[in-house]
Symmetry: C2
Subunit: 142 residues, 2 copies
């Protein structure tokens, strides 16, 4: 029996805020479905070339009582990045906290506006250690 | 800045039980990392032909206080299936509850042993409606 992975869905409290966040990461909207009657929107966002394995943002227009303050227990969504320092700098400049800075040139963790844990991994070998990253402390958990 | 989706990670309380569940779905182990010192295992499992977008099972040998009783608020992981009736029958025969039966020939929801919500979607057009599925009620939520 064949099966195919399609998407990971996350609920969002503020669609604009979340789309902005995933845009900063480098994801683009690939498909959107607004349901007037059900009063919800589904927005699919994917990395370039991976349009068939997006994340799905579920936004309930009248609020969502499923939303947790934290979702560490679920796990995380992981992305490989071209340059972990560059993307962390870019995210930081746009107000995103780097919870686990890439001190090792290899791995970082951030949080979505809904506290979904996102792992960033340097493609290939770790980058040479570099300030200010080597001196940065963890912030919260992820 | 290029980025690439890698995996969705979920924490598991019982590794054998969870691997059995994902095997039933049709996923196969693609990579495993056992860390004696950290006392944890990471098992990557993917659908055939999608070895580059697996789920990652995180298993802490001494238990995991992150594990929730429910994780509906996170969302779900979705898979496309060849025949939604066949896979639901197969799962049911192996003790998996079909929380949202495929009454419409199109969509079903189940739960992993750790209550992760899993969506199953019929590839292409919905299948013709069929008993017993049309008569089945929802069980719990998903």
């Amino acid at each position: 029996m064949h099966l195919r992975y399609l998407h990971t869905m996350v609920r969002v409290a503020d669609l604009d805020k979340s789309m902005h966040f995933y845009n900063l990461l480098g994801l683009k909207e690939t498909r959107r479905y607004d349901n007037e009657k059900g009063r919800f929107s589904l927005v699919f966002m994917a990395a370039e070339g991976q349009e068939d394995t997006p994340i799905e943002l579920t936004y309930n227009w009248d609020g969502d009582n499923q939303l947790p303050s934290d979702s560490r227990h679920f796990g995380h969504i992981a992305y490989e990045v071209e340059n972990i320092y560059q993307i962390c700098e870019h995210l930081q400049e746009n107000g995103i906290v780097i919870n686990r800075p890439p001190r090792d040139g290899r791995m970082a963790f951030i949080r979505s506006p809904d506290n979904i844990s996102i792992e960033l991994l340097q493609v290939g070998e770790p980058l040479p250690l570099e300030k200010p990253w080597t001196d940065m402390n963890n912030i919260g958990h992820w």
